[in-house]
Symmetry: C2
DNA sequence: CCAAAAGTGTTGGTAGTACACCCATGA
DNA sequence: TCATGGGTGTACTACCAACACTTTTGG
């Protein structure tokens, strides 16, 4: 195998030495709860380098698995998370981004409902935890760059696609959606205008159930997504500036 | 090096065999001329597999160069093109996308002014040529997927950023810009509305020079970009639906 | 004078924005 | 009855979309 690898390199592009770059995947997983707000999932590294540091879940890609499979496997192994939405974010390939060997990381961007499962640290992680987006820990490697890119993407994405289905529960009061948008966009949103805008798209259905109250205040109606219309709109790529 | 590589893999993520994935870059370079329209640059492969097929310029990344350096080097080597704008597009990592070994390709997306240089085939290419976007040849590997992704990106991008500076010359008649948008979006554009829209942004300066005529018809004024305003707007991320 | 391309304004519809008061509930 | 959060409508503005005739040039 090693021989064929060398031959391959020479053959393909006249490189003088065998290319020695490893490929890994990392995932920036966003979760949202009304209590905790918008959070990102990190694991605590078991091994050097950066042992004990917080880092994005991820790891080397196996020889026969696709990148997406690698992400899902690593998430499962390291944190027990089953992802709800996954898209490729960006590849980070700076030669010195890993202090040992060169490692190219293909970063992914994911959304989950954190209430849907319990976090558990596992194979490669001492611990796994959510951190609020405004209160991130020091991170290993260049993971802070990856996180920043993901936040930028999330912000951009939410203006042209109705994210939310992947982050909220089956039924939720309208104010949940509003708080989510407000958290992602990091600014206040006018309740009335926002509702008008959203309802125009027609992918939200108002149920006649009422919110169970967490404190005082008037309980709101619960809404749910009309999945058909929702995914149809997502596919068509609607414009969705809030 | 081989030993340390194996140790590294085991150490990092409990992989049983050494990861054997190569990393390459490929570039989808768009060019525009009023005569030829919107075109993409391809090279004709000198070597197997797909010898003699058309393919995207690209190749393996060297151990100590960044991905962007690799793209620029390959473009220079294979076609003599000096790129004008470059951004990462997507990484293609399917295990079987290369029939020999596994090769992950980080694809880039580029814009150039084709009139600025002559194409020349070189090291790894028998030939290099522009193909009109509506008349692409059969392509090697999964390059058609990469191209389609790039076209989708270009279409999306042009609606929220004023592309054009990178594709047009220093001075151009307004109709050039309009034809460019029309070519990218693949639909007709209302001349009056388009001009109103563009001029509102204020990054175009009308000069008092006239177009040299290619045929009959009234010659138009030449315009140029106000680079300062243009790049300021690009940075701020304007909304730019046409 | 004819063909080809450039230049130019108005109107109606739609969506965005700003803004304030009343209602239902729990404590 | 008070505090909390939910629910709702209007008026103004800005942008979008649709649309046709005149001007300048070359042949």
């Amino acid at each position: 195998m090693i021989l064929s690898s060398i031959k391959f390199s020479l053959y393909l592009s006249c490189v003088k030495v065998t290319q020695n770059i490893k490929v890994s995947v990392d995932a920036v997983v966003f979760g949202y709860t009304s209590e905790e707000g918008l959070s990102i999932l990190f694991i605590k590294r078991k091994i050097d380098p950066f042992q004990g540091s917080w880092a994005l879940p991820g790891g080397l890609v196996l020889n026969n698995e696709s990148l997406e499979e690698a992400v899902e496997r690593e998430l499962e192994e390291e944190s027990g998370v089953k992802i709800n939405y996954l898209e490729q974010l960006y590849s980070f390939g700076h030669p010195k981004r890993d202090p040992r060997n060169r490692v190219l990381s293909v970063a992914y961007f994911g959304l989950v409902r954190p209430t849907a499962f319990r976090l558990k640290a596992d194979t490669d992680a001492m611990d796994a935890a959510w951190f609020h987006i405004k209160d991130l820990p020091e991170l290993a490697f260049d993971h802070i760059d990856i996180v920043n890119k993901a936040i930028t993407r999330l912000k951009a994405k939410i203006t042209y696609e109705p994210i939310g289905f992947e982050l909220l529960g089956k039924k939720f009061p309208f104010s949940e959606l509003e708080k989510l948008y407000s958290a992602v966009l990091d600014r206040q949103i006018d309740r009335r205008n926002f509702k008008k805008k959203i309802m125009r798209f027609g992918f939200l259905i108002e149920t006649d159930e009422k919110q169970k109250l967490a404190g005082s205040g008037r309980p709101g109606n619960l809404f749910k997504f009309d999945e058909k219309k929702y995914f149809k709109l997502v596919k068509e790529g609607i414009n969705f500036e809030v």
